[in-house]
Symmetry: C2
Subunit: 236 residues, 2 copies
């Protein structure tokens, strides 16, 4: 029986500049009596990764200041509507407002995306391995809108120990016919899945994912594997 | 502890024209000793829904025949590249080749999307309620590509008993601040999550999802809630 379990890791509390993610995570796991094992996967939201990396900037609570900050974090603006910008970030992600979290600008701060989310994921994975002697996979998530469909979903912006694309090319279905679905973006599917337990308003930046197929684990990066090169994109 | 479990429902086998989905599903659940309960959710892939509804058509194995069929299932072509079409289907979905499954054209057949996937979901939900006296939610999924990101993910094309968008507008985070993430497309996140257990080549068109927040359940439809109106879309 193939089953995957998503568990919110509760009781982490507010994350501040310079807090160490591995400490927050492992302490919370201990309180919940959860031990990490091989082929476990940890999902962490980009917001706490950014905070722990000091990616918080002062900003005036004006439209002009917000737009200027968003454009500074972008290498290309794809669409404008009022103060909203759909841009390609310096990482190559296409999303609203370059992933800048402007929700706390009344406190005079905004939170930028991590500079290199794959590296952030590798750092957390490495620190967990160092402290607990177990190699888990890590997915850093952020919330993106989509064209054509209402609502936002969480996607992967950084991974470690996970192959973000599952290559089904050349495999056969139960009837022996070639599958035409080519590559499945499992890192994005994992991010979306985790948001089902993280999506509510509680302070739960971490989720534990168990039971993933062993073939999903290995080397990979969002930047190299999930970001579609502009030349191959029919919508840029 | 908030946990969601995704379980593949195995042993269903090949689905044929006119097979009754509820029978296939309930027999498979019985073999796996799984009993359905309130706030359970069943994910079913569109391909078996289409087959059970007779949405299989004869087609010649030529590019011209495939393109003609895809365009007949579309109300608008957004992009062309060789024989590939990115279109808006008659339902309003934007995807590759209008969701037509052309992988078996060597057998002389193609599988179209269900005519009204929300209705298909409601029919399965109703039949489960009639036979087992329990109201579960149902999500019909299909595999879509995305602009800007490599790989495909599963999304919801029909729902019953589920509110596809979770409205977080006006709620506050753990620090009492308003959340700016507005509406979360949980139906798509559920579809993506289920594909983590269905995505491999085995014949498993059904997944059971347990532990979803009670607030996710209620009335809704993909057509009304998830398809973005053209006038609001920045990329059409």
């Amino acid at each position: 029986m193939s089953a995957v379990t998503l568990t919110a890791i509760e009781g982490v509390g507010e994350v501040r500049d310079g807090d160490e993610l591995a400490t927050l995570l492992l302490d919370a796991l201990d309180r919940q009596s959860l031990n990490l094992a091989r082929h476990d996967l940890i999902v962490v939201t980009s917001k706490v990764v950014s905070k722990s990396e000091g990616r918080v900037v002062a900003i005036e609570d004006t439209s002009e200041a917000k737009v200027a900050l968003v454009e500074r974090e972008s290498r290309r603006v794809l669409r404008r509507r009022g103060p909203l910008r759909i841009t390609e970030t310096t990482h190559g992600f296409v999303n609203a407002n370059a992933g800048v979290d402007l929700s706390n600008t009344d406190d005079g701060t905004a939170v930028l995306l991590p500079r290199d989310p794959d590296r952030s994921a590798r750092a957390l994975r490495g620190e967990i391995a160092r402290r607990r002697g177990v190699e888990v996979a890590v997915v850093v998530t952020d919330t993106f809108g989509r064209p054509w469909r209402q609502g936002v979903t969480d996607v992967a912006i950084g991974v470690a120990g996970l192959r973000p694309l599952l290559d089904l090319r050349g495999t056969r279905d139960a009837n022996g016919r070639m599958l035409d679905a080519t590559e499945v973006a499992i890192a994005d599917e994992i991010a979306a899945a985790a948001n089902l337990v993280l999506g509510k308003a509680a302070a739960t930046p971490f989720a534990l994912v168990r039971g993933l197929d062993e073939s999903y684990f290995g080397d990979g990066s969002v930047a190299a594997d999930l970001v579609r090169p502009v030349a191959e994109d029919l919508f840029r």
